[in-house]
């Protein structure tokens, strides 16, 4: 118990003193997950609009499939990305394995189902009359899509935040494709798992607190948007 207490106080010291390693790791976590979320959003928002607006056979199946992948284990995506980018893999020639870039790509793949599925749900929340009104006022297909995304902006933002939350809190994928290389691909979650297995609780606890703080901020934002 004393050990944990000791670790906790030291962890707080590390945060307050803005320990360079803590700041660096937290910063990298944020950068990688934000980049992944941004990329995923750029792909998913238009794609979700297309899925929502187009009528095609198997649409319901596709949405079911997307929803199934909400909770796909991160290590499964990790394995998939690893195989793809390993030397013998399809994209092995790029030499991206164990770089932040491949971590961004991996997290992007990981959160795509959540972003896609929740954005489709968000768009469904926009009443039919809004779409009809837009079309009757002369909006083309793409102009209507943009308008509907705008109308659903709070729910869409909530979907993006959910995606970010999943990206920043995952560990399996970052470990597998990032390799937890100090100063290069070490992020909050991988650092915590390494430090705690080494028995060095201070750094692990400090990073854990930062992660919880980030989760708290994300949640507050999420709730605010849900209430709009």
């Amino acid at each position: 118990m004393a050990e944990i207490w000791n670790g906790l106080t030291k962890a707080i010291e590390l945060i307050i003193s803005l320990d360079p390693e803590v700041i660096q790791i937290a910063g990298r976590s944020l950068t990688i997950s934000m980049a992944a979320t941004l990329l995923a959003s750029l792909i998913c928002l238009p794609l979700a609009s297309l899925i929502h607006f187009r009528r095609f056979p198997g649409k319901r199946m596709l949405i079911n499939l997307i929803q199934t992948f909400y909770s796909v284990p991160t290590v499964v995506i990790g394995l998939f990305v690893f195989v793809l980018f390993s030397r013998a893999g399809l994209l092995g020639g790029l030499g991206l394995l164990y770089t932040p870039t491949v971590m961004i790509l991996g997290q992007m793949v990981l959160i795509t189902p959540i972003l896609l599925g929740l954005t489709v749900s968000a768009l469904r929340g926009v009443e039919r009359a809004i779409i009809d009104t837009a079309r009757s006022l002369g909006a083309s297909g793409s102009q209507t899509m943009v308008l509907v995304l705008k109308e659903a902006r709070f729910a869409v933002m909530a979907a993006v935040i959910m995606g970010f939350g999943r990206a920043i809190s995952e560990v399996g994928l970052a470990l597998m494709v990032g390799g937890n290389i100090r100063g290069l691909t070490r992020i909050i979650t991988t650092a915590i798992s390494l430090e705690s297995s080494k028995g060095e609780l201070e750094l692990a606890l400090a990073l854990g607190m930062i992660l919880i703080f980030i989760a708290l901020v994300v949640n507050i934002l999420f709730n605010r948007l849900q209430q709009r």
Partner: protein
């Protein structure tokens, strides 16, 4: 050439015909009112004309062009129209942006849009609200925004679905004035759906009666109102007395129609033996306590079975061997001392009768 024309138009939902064989022609600058009860298919027809939905079968021509060609063309044609829904919705943005939308989508310049929006907001007296989120407006204000954003693009065809159904009388007359002013100046073609016959009468050049998905009659207001072509239309335009009879005599365009025990005389050239409906508008019937000689050819003794007053008018139901409904002023009902159970004489002119073949 008609600006808008529909040919054999059908619309179907769940294997049910919502619209049947609609053949409509509307000329440029014309104001056409679709009248009919709720559920008759008025909104469905307007949606087809606005090219929002595709018909089950049939063709819509806009300016002589077949609109079924491509989606891109339908968008282009839709930009020459505007449609105000019965229950308009506003976008979750400012009043200004709501009104500006249509012009933005048509690719107009910012300063041009600004000028037009200010102008139109002035017209609908919503200038003070331009920065407010449109979602916070009242029902009447939303209606104003909906009309403003429709007319701002100066459409060639304006489609109005019950434009004043959820407004108070003052706003209603303001909107009617606005519509007639603007459209008159720009020679806009209007197709409006209304269940309010008096509104149709006030605004429209021509009306079409839509009942159960079919246009049963169209023409000038006066024709439809006074000479309905069949029983359903007669019913809808509130010809309250529709009596079945058979023509018994015909001479010099005057016919005698057997109605049970009684004979009604009317102006008509239907031959003897024809089975007909005798239509008499309730306001064309006069009531007296004593049998008097007037120019009215038809006069029947009867007993008042029911009396209902609304506003300045009183509806009197009389049993003369056949039921008759008369509409008289409340004052004359009082002067005649009418009451349920009293004996009266109901009279109407032969020329006030419209005859429909059964």
């Amino acid at each position: 050439m008609a600006l808008l024309e529909t040919v054999n138009l059908y619309q179907r939902f769940d294997k049910q015909d919502i619209l049947k064989n609609i053949n409509l022609k509307v000329d440029k600058g014309e104001i056409f009112a679709l009248i009919g009860p709720t559920g008759a298919g008025k909104t469905t027809l307007l949606r087809l004309v606005n090219l929002l939905d595709l018909p089950a079968s049939g063709i819509i021509y806009f300016g002589g062009v077949d609109t079924s060609e491509s989606a891109r063309m339908r968008t282009e044609l839709r930009r020459r129209m505007a449609f105000v829904f019965q229950k308009p919705v506003v976008f979750n943005m400012s009043v200004y942006d709501n009104v500006a939308c249509g012009l933005k989508w048509r690719g107009e310049g910012k300063s041009e849009i600004g000028k037009k929006v200010y102008n139109i907001l002035e017209m609908v007296t919503l200038s003070d609200y331009k920065d407010r989120n449109a979602r916070t407006l009242s029902g009447g204000e939303v209606q104003m925004v909906a009309i403003a954003r429709a007319i701002i693009s100066e459409p060639e065809v304006l489609l109005l679905d019950e434009p004043t159904a959820n407004l108070d009388p003052a706003s209603e007359s303001r909107i009617e004035t606005l519509i007639t002013d603007i459209t008159h100046r720009r020679n806009t073609t209007i197709i409006m759906a209304t269940h309010d016959m008096s509104q149709g009468q006030r605004l429209a050049d021509r009306v079409g009666v839509l009942l159960n998905g079919e246009i049963l009659q169209s023409g000038g207001w006066h024709d439809v109102f006074n000479s309905p072509q069949n029983r359903e239309v007669a019913n809808f335009v509130r010809v309250e007395n529709i009596i079945n009879g058979v023509i018994a005599l015909s001479q010099d365009e005057i016919v005698a129609i057997n109605v049970g025990e009684n004979v009604i005389e009317a102006v008509s050239d239907y031959p003897v033996g024809e089975e007909v409906c005798v239509c008499i508008r309730p306001e064309d019937i006069t009531i007296a306590r004593l049998k008097f000689s007037s120019s009215a050819r038809n006069s029947f003794a009867g007993e008042i079975t029911r009396m209902v007053s609304f506003g300045a008018l009183t509806r009197v139901e009389i049993d003369c061997g056949f039921p008759l409904v008369a509409l008289i002023t409340k004052r004359s009902a009082e002067e005649l001392d009418l009451d349920k159970g009293k004996q009266v004489y109901a009279s109407f002119k032969a020329t006030a009768i419209h005859i429909i073949k059964r």
